[in-house]
Amino acid sequence: MKWLKPPQWPNRFLQWYCHPDLLEEIQGDAFELFYRTAKKNKWKANLQFVWNVIRFFRWKNIRKIKSTQTHQLSIAMLKNVFLVAFRNFFRQPAHSLLNVIGLSVAFACAFLILLWVSFEFSFDKFHSSNNRLYSIVSHVEADGMVQSYPLASASINTSSVPEVEKAVSISTGSRWPHILCFKPESINSECVYLEGVYTNQNLFSVFSFEIVEGDPHPLNRPDHLVISQKMAKLLFKDGQAIGKTLKVDSREEMMVVSIMKDIPSNSSLQFDFAMPFAFLQKEWGINEQQLSGQFFNTYIKTTVPVSAEVLSAKLNDERVLTKELKEQNVRYQALPLKDWRLKNHFEGGQQLSGRMEYVVLFTIVGSLLVLIAVINFINMTTARATTRAKEIGVRKVTGAFRSSIVLQFVGESFLIVLVSVLLAALITQLTLPLFNSLLGEQINLSLVSGFLPFILLAFLLIISVLAGLYPAFVLSSFQPARVLKNQLSARMTGSHRLRQSLLVVQLSVAIGIIIFSGVLYRQLSFIIEKNLGFDRSNMIRVEPTAKLFNNFGVFKNELFKDPAIQSVAASNTNPLQAVGGNTDVEWPGKPKDQRIVFKTIGCSYEFAETFGLKILEGRNFQPRPLDSLNNEVLISEEAAKVMNLKQPVGQVIRMGSSPCVIIGVIPDFHTESLHALRLPVILHRVNYMHTSAIYVKYRPGTTQSSLAAVSKAYKTIEPDYTMKYWFQDDTFNEIYKTEIIASRLVLVFTLVTLVISGLGIAGLATYNVLRRRKEIGIRRVFGASVSQVMYTLTHEFSGILLVAMLIAAPFAWYGAERWLTGFAYRIDMPWWIFVVTLLGIGSAILLIILIQGFKTVNVNPSKTLRNE
């Protein structure tokens, strides 16, 4: 029986939690039962023992923490603790300041990230029924490729789905007719371009956009419109807009019936005015039936919260998804609107995490920053512990419990963390505008809004305990007899191993962040500098009007009066962001089963010249009126290759139903962001009326005068309008907005990481050198050279650095590689960044140590050694 023993860990657990008065009988009962069962079955006995221990874990049996005889926290004691904390804070101002600065910079970054993350999560949650709102996505399958659009048919009929309370179609866009010219009340004013939507009455009952004035159920008459408060203030001097008429696009008169509150910045749907679909019909010149064939953003409000899968299944029912759509391989999917912002990225019909990835990335970065700062704090506090040794000794001798000393030091760290948090909150509020402009967002939150104060409070408590607990235990473990006899040893400053590991963690985090952001930065500059194959700089894109197209020749002539204007073209697709593709292309010798996606761009004859596309073979389009019988096309080299044409020029291909003759070959160029693969391109001529934008190329360095010239030429044809234009470069930046913002943020946080870990390493190295002054003195006396002394000072750090590098490199490599796979065109992993980071950090540490070291080494050893 003796050789059988109950399992140790539950027994230990029992001993730990059990009230000492009850332990003997309880343990006895458990053991007795164990031995009894163990005679029959050892396994069963073990299980039974564990079970009994768990069952004995009751409130009555648990050890109660008794308050000790004397009060730990008398007011006088507390006062003394705070007084000492303050004195200490000011006795070593440099040390305290270093601590506070490091902590507060890290906290400020973490707070900014916290604000941003909560802003991202707050999107579309202001709608009172946000858990019942869904957005519909259409997945269209064609040639094995699935394209996803946040749209649904305008004629969608959800009346067969019992859960749907209301649905609303909203037509949005970033061009005419969604951006329209409005003129303020004052005479002779210029156009103000404002963005709006076309929709029906359901808009204001599905969403919680608040109407502050006028008809609460607007949009039921074709000539009614709703405008925002901002727009009312902009257009009407006194802001009194209800009942007044507005000239929309300088032509149509509409009556303002309601004013809505400005849409908050954390809404995915942004607009300044809302008009009924009737206006859109008039602008597009389509009837009711043609309108119902269109696709618009569609939102559903259900009566009860339902799962998105269930709703999606019901939307794909025959009664909702009509036969015609099904034949076109359309599939609907409902997505909760509250998730829309973070997860609206689709690829191949699958939902990807999209923005969520960046939210996660920066949450990690923020947490790591705080971790680095806290490690700094712990290291610096324990390293300096010896300076407090006597105080602790005296406290203990006069009867302080260990617990009260722990409390004192946790209290001190709480004070420092509190100061840092307050300072960080201040920094956060001050830098928020800067952060906003960096992000290009309008974060309308502050640290005191919503539930954030509670997070902050929890943060404060957790961090101060985290940062204070270990130093407190180290400091309170001093034995007064030895301390007061001045027998200080290195062991008294806590575990050396632990401090080294903390330093390793800190350095690995810093190295990881630096490497990752280095790769990120390289890739982004690769994209931005990559030759897309065509010219995008020094180009203005002008929103056309019908009159402009009708008088294109005049417009062109006016433009060329300014020598800075180089060329003008029109096309139906912006080559920077040509979405979709065309598989309906036939060529001689095309295999039957082959389906290749082409980008087909309809353009005017000046296109190739304007975008700097050289003609490699054949000739360009000719400047003569369009000949409908003789369609001419230019194809890219890649297109010639996929068509396998040796002599492309002169060959006849078919696009859709019309035959076209290839007249020339142009170089390859990218037509989408570099996330996607480059596709073969076919340029074909279309009428000006069928293009969507005019592109004006000007000489570098003449931006201002060229813009003025374009504007003037525009005015001669459209005197009533103000020109709406974009720079192609800005559009380009817009395409990579998320990446550019991410790279800016990463750059900022990398700097902060460097500063904080630099502070930490500097503090620690300084302390280490000072601590070893006598050692250095003795070494010098015995004839060590300066370089030998330097070696002993630095070799510890170099080991730590190498270990940190070994830990950080795989993580950084994995993270960077995963991020890079999102791009179709990407750099190879730049290994030199790893080397440069290692060398850079290594030499920085070396420099810090050497500077400190030289100061000490050059002191005459007799001075350092005399001081006993």
Partner: protein, 112 residues
């Protein structure tokens, strides 16, 4: 405390302590409950009831000599107190009283 009313399990345990005199302790009470009444209980439940009864003053306890089968640990031996005896008597009496108040006709199991 909810008066001196005895719960059903409390009454059983109290009776067992009396039955097992002078060797009533946790495991023994548990075993006896299973053997005599057929109630299979976890030791912790029995222990909790014993402690509760002691707090109510119906039991008192002392520690025994160390025993081998418990790894050299002592048992807590429970004994009835005077008020424990009273409580049992009252419970018994009340039950009998009520039992005798049942009219004869009720034993014919008929609805009127």
């Amino acid at each position: 405390m909810k008066g001196t009313n005895l719960g059903e399990l409390e009454e059983l345990v109290l009776l067992m302590v009396g039955v097992l005199y002078p060797q009533a302790y946790g495991v023994a009470v548990m075993d006896e409950l299973e053997a005599q009444v057929g109630r299979s209980l976890n030791i912790s439940a029995v222990h909790a009831v014993l402690i509760r009864l002691e707090e109510k003053g119906l039991l008192k306890s002392k520690m025994s000599e160390p025993t081998e089968e418990r790894g050299g640990r002592r048992k807590r031996i429970f004994l009835l107190t005077a008020s424990g005896k009273r409580a049992l008597e009252e419970a018994n009496e009340m039950r009998n009283q009520l039992y005798h108040q049942i009219p004869k006709v009720a034993w014919q199991f008929k609805m009127i």
